[in-house]
């Protein structure tokens, strides 16, 4: 039945968006994770890529997280000679996490999650109405 598939697709969409939220949380939590050794690389921001995927069990085209990659880009440097990760010039590499970008990503994930949730509720309403026709 198509409505089962619709429910499943919405659930997959919500799962994908929660993975994205998890990665945002990881990025924000590691905003200050620098390296331990002199000149070592700090935490690198992670990114999520979605892909359309065929669920072979139901034949539905769902969505899933195809890849959790690492963001390119240079690490900003901060002058802090006493830091254990400071290089010869006294600079420490800090993670390439921009909190503004993360917050924007979080908002978008939230918006998409609630969109999926509303579809789920609409589909459930349709199912309930269909079941009520049996009475």
């Amino acid at each position: 039945m198509d409505m089962d598939r619709a429910l499943r697709i919405s659930a997959a969409g919500m799962a994908a968006q929660s993975t994205r939220l998890r990665v945002v949380a990881e990025n924000l939590a590691n905003r200050d994770s620098t390296g331990g050794a002199p000149g070592a690389d700090p935490y690198r921001r992670r990114t999520v890529t979605f892909a359309n995927q065929l669920d072979r069990a139901t034949g539905a085209q769902t969505v899933n997280v195809s890849r959790i990659g690492q963001a390119q880009g240079d690490f900003p440097k901060r002058f802090d000679p006493s830091h254990p990760a400071a290089d010869a010039q006294g600079y420490v590499k800090t993670p390439n996490v921009d909190s503004l970008i993360e917050v924007m990503d979080m908002r978008e994930a939230q918006r998409s999650y609630s969109a999926n949730l509303s579809v789920l509720e609409a589909t459930r309403g349709m199912l309930t109405r269909t079941i009520e026709a049996l009475r």
């Binding site: 969409g13 609409a122 349709m126």
Partner: protein, 136 residues
């Protein structure tokens, strides 16, 4: 699109068949719309929609396409239930062309149409129940 489903209304005759065909179409549409919304952040994804119900109905009634005058004739691709790409209103830099608000309107639309078709079906079967003297 990819599979032949019973969406194509098989020359709906009475109100009940018509309501059933409409419900099948709405079921299928809800699936397509939920796929669009689930993929609202997938790169290079284009939103899809079903061909309008009226067009599918007209095609099933043989308003266009070839008439089959012999059972051995092959059914043309005419009454295959089709999805077609939505017209893209906005395309984001990653190539995604799903407009969430547009899809939300369509979901609400499908929901209302489903309620209408369902109550039509109920009313009609209610008339049979009345005729049988088992109302209530």
């Amino acid at each position: 699109m990819d599979r032949t489903s019973p969406t194509a209304p098989a020359a709906a005759r009475g109100p009940i068949e018509l309501a059933e065909a409409r419900l099948r179409w709405l079921d299928r549409r809800q699936e397509v719309l939920s796929r669009n919304i689930a993929n609202a952040d997938t790169p290079n994804y284009r939103a899809r929609d079903l061909t309008p119900f009226a067009a599918q109905l007209a095609r099933a009634r043989g308003a266009d396409g070839l008439a089959r005058t012999d059972p051995r004739h092959l059914a043309g691709g005419g009454n295959a239930p089709g999805t077609r790409p939505d017209r893209a209103t906005e395309v984001s830099p990653d190539g995604n062309a799903v407009s969430l608000d547009e899809q939300a309107i369509k979901v609400a639309d499908t929901d209302t149409a489903h309620a209408l078709a369902m109550s039509l079906h109920r009313r009609w079967t209610g008339m049979f129940r009345t005729a049988l003297g088992r109302n209530g």
